[in-house]
């Protein structure tokens, strides 16, 4: 990599976005808009979910219309454990990730037998199933959801020495989410450039050819689907912690649609694109809903226009060629 690589617009842009996220808790009060920190917290959590969707949708060509179910699974794992007064984050978070991964394994094994429009529909059907599971869980509040009393507790004590992470402190939680976002971006970057990632991208462009080369497309896609589910489950756990509230609404099918939109808006098959997508989506909905209560009236047609005229997404505008993605 030459030294000037870092001066290219795409790198400058990505660094700028991450820096904005990093300094928002300091910047927002200075500008006199402290609630921007909350918006950015939500943006980062949604970005993690969108990045995970991009892994299967953008890189793997699997158009899942049920991805929000993993947000729900992660969120409900944290919420239900908290309901039984298990606040230990070392139990809550790994369990949220594991359950999401296990469900992804089962659902993926069924869904990945279908292709094209049938895959879209069958993932939607599974998303609906999980959604209705949440709706009919009377013990956990049905439609109304559950209020979570306290955020996850991370505390270790070895002998006399003890260490604890107080997520109740908004700053601590904000920066934990920021670090997780950066780590997730790094992991996904590694995955898509690895041999595994190459196979996944190869399967997207020509499944038959990859099979002829000796790769079993089904197994690679399934593993990819599971990884995406696990990352999204983590995002769900973060969301439950952030809002201190879970409800079936977090896995409503429109949320899956919004996730797809974030990915497409930011730029499919780019690691950083979904972050841009989440940023623009949530900021736009914030701004528009401040202007008018009927903001969907503007937002709906905007979505149509993006699809019709901005196929490469915003991140794609900065990249001069596909190599830079």
């Amino acid at each position: 990599m030459r030294r000037t690589e870092f001066l290219r617009p795409i790198f400058l842009y990505r660094a700028f976005v991450l820096a904005t996220c990093a300094f928002m808790p300091v910047l927002a009060p200075l500008v006199g808009e402290p609630y921007w920190t909350d918006i950015f917290l939500r943006i980062m959590i949604w970005a993690i979910a969108a990045v995970s969707l991009d892994l299967i949708l953008g890189f793997g060509g699997m158009i899942s219309f049920g991805h929000a179910m993993f947000i729900g699974l992660g969120g409900y794992t944290v919420g239900i454990l908290a309901y039984y007064e298990i606040f230990n984050g070392f139990i809550q978070w790994p369990l949220a990730v594991l359950i999401s991964g296990a469900v992804a394994a089962v659902i993926g094994a069924v869904c990945l037998r279908t292709r094209g429009i049938y895959f879209i529909m069958i993932t939607l059907a599974f998303g609906q199933m999980i959604y209705f599971l949440g709706v009919s869980a009377e013990e956990y509040g049905s439609d109304d959801g559950l209020i979570i009393e306290a955020r996850s507790e991370f505390a270790i004590s070895v002998g006399d020495a003890s260490w604890a992470l107080d997520l109740g402190d908004p700053m601590v939680f904000y920066y934990l989410v920021f670090i997780i976002l950066v780590v997730v971006l790094g992991i996904v970057q590694r995955i898509v450039n690895s041999r595994f990632g190459m196979v996944i991208r190869g399967v997207k462009s020509n499944q038959g050819r990859m099979a002829a080369l000796g790769f079993d497309p089904f197994r690679y896609k399934l593993v990819c689907f599971i990884i995406a589910g696990m990352i999204c489950g983590l995002a769900g756990a973060l969301m439950a912690n952030g809002e201190k509230y879970i409800s079936p609404d977090m896995m409503h099918w429109t949320k899956s649609g919004e996730l797809i939109f974030m990915v497409v808006l930011g730029g499919m098959a780019t690691v950083f694109g979904p972050v841009t997508g989440a940023l623009v989506f949530l900021f736009l909905s914030e701004i528009l809903s401040n202007i008018t209560q009927n903001w969907h009236l503007i937002f709906g047609p905007f979505l149509v226009l993006v699809v019709l005229f901005a196929r490469r997404g915003i991140d794609g505008l900065f990249a001069r060629n596909t190599k830079e993605r």
């Binding site: 069924v110 497409v264 047609p301 979505l303």
Partner: protein, 307 residues
């Protein structure tokens, strides 16, 4: 659980199935012929309901409401097709899903702006209110019988249109091979608009029929739209016959499942487990059916023959 209740619920299931068919027919035609995934199809169901409710309230006549509501829904459908959907035919399914998702947001909000109250409800016309004895000690609401009757009539009319008329022949040909139909000199653009308008009217009609029972609300289209998608996937995308059979099956399973599944579960599970699982399982039943069908027959039960 007695036989009268079972018979009643079976009729309810049939009525729901017919309603689903009205939506699924348009959806499957649009998908089969234009290869367009139209998530916004449920919006025509909603627009139909609101337009009908408005005309019904203005004129005071149920039938005038329907007679005026149908051309109005047709207009909404045609305008949507021409403005938003035409550029989408050549795009992939992901683009279509996203753009029509945007249309849903638009229509739901539009309805809230035009009809600012919390939805619109209309009275049941007096001559359709009440119930009749239909033998075996079963009393069934007249209005629901009317829904079943008019739904079956529409299904028959659609069958006649598609199987027995020249237009239907072109539509079927379009479903098999779009390019060839275009090459044979059929104005494919006009055909698309026509079929789309027809689908919108069918969906709108279903919405109108439901308004006196459920009242028109923003977002009413989505729940039933997903069910309609389940129906066309089970029936085989592009097949009207498949849509009809799958719609009836789905309607029956959903309705009967909701009323009797907990009773059945009680027979095999302990009471508290059955009580907890009953509502969850019954609302998931048709999705499980769809997954099972897709697993064993990935093209649906009655895939149209494509050359």
């Amino acid at each position: 659980m007695n036989l009268v209740l079972i018979a009643e619920q079976t009729l309810n299931g049939l009525q729901f199935g017919i309603l689903l068919f009205l939506l699924a027919a348009g959806l499957t035609l649009v998908f089969g012929i234009m290869d367009l995934v139209n998530l916004a199809h449920g919006s025509f169901y909603m627009m139909g309901a609101f337009l009908f409710a408005t005309f019904y309230t203005l004129t005071g006549s149920f039938f005038l409401g329907i007679a005026l509501g149908i051309p109005a829904t047709l207009a909404v459908g045609v305008v949507t097709e021409v403005l938003a959907l035409r550029p989408l035919y050549a795009r992939n399914h992901l683009d279509q899903v996203l753009a029509t998702f945007g249309l849903i947001l638009f229509f739901n909000q539009l309805v809230q702006v035009i009809w600012p109250l919390d939805g619109m409800s209309v009275p049941m016309p007096a001559y359709l209110d009440g119930a009749v004895r239909i033998g075996f000690g079963i009393e069934y609401p007249v209005y629901r019988i009317m829904i079943i009757g008019s739904g079956l009539a529409v299904a028959a009319g659609l069958y006649f249109l598609v199987q027995r008329t020249r237009l239907g022949m072109v539509i079927r040909a379009g479903a098999s091979n779009r390019t060839m139909v275009g090459a044979l000199g059929v104005d494919i653009k006009l055909l698309f608009t026509l079929v789309f308008g027809l689908g919108a009217v069918l969906a709108g009609f279903a919405g109108m029929l439901m308004t006196p029972i459920l009242s028109a609300t923003s977002g009413m289209g989505e729940q039933i739209l997903i069910l309609a998608f389940v129906v066309i996937v089970i029936g085989g995308i592009g097949s009207i016959r498949g849509a009809f059979i799958a719609a009836i099956i789905t309607g029956l399973i959903d309705t009967l499942g909701r009323s009797f599944l907990d009773v059945l579960l009680l027979a095999v599970l302990p009471a508290n487990a059955a009580e907890a699982a009953g509502p969850a399982l019954s609302s998931m039943l048709i999705y499980i059916l769809m997954v099972a069908v897709l697993f064993f027959r990935p093209q649906g039960l009655f895939p149209p023959k494509v050359r």
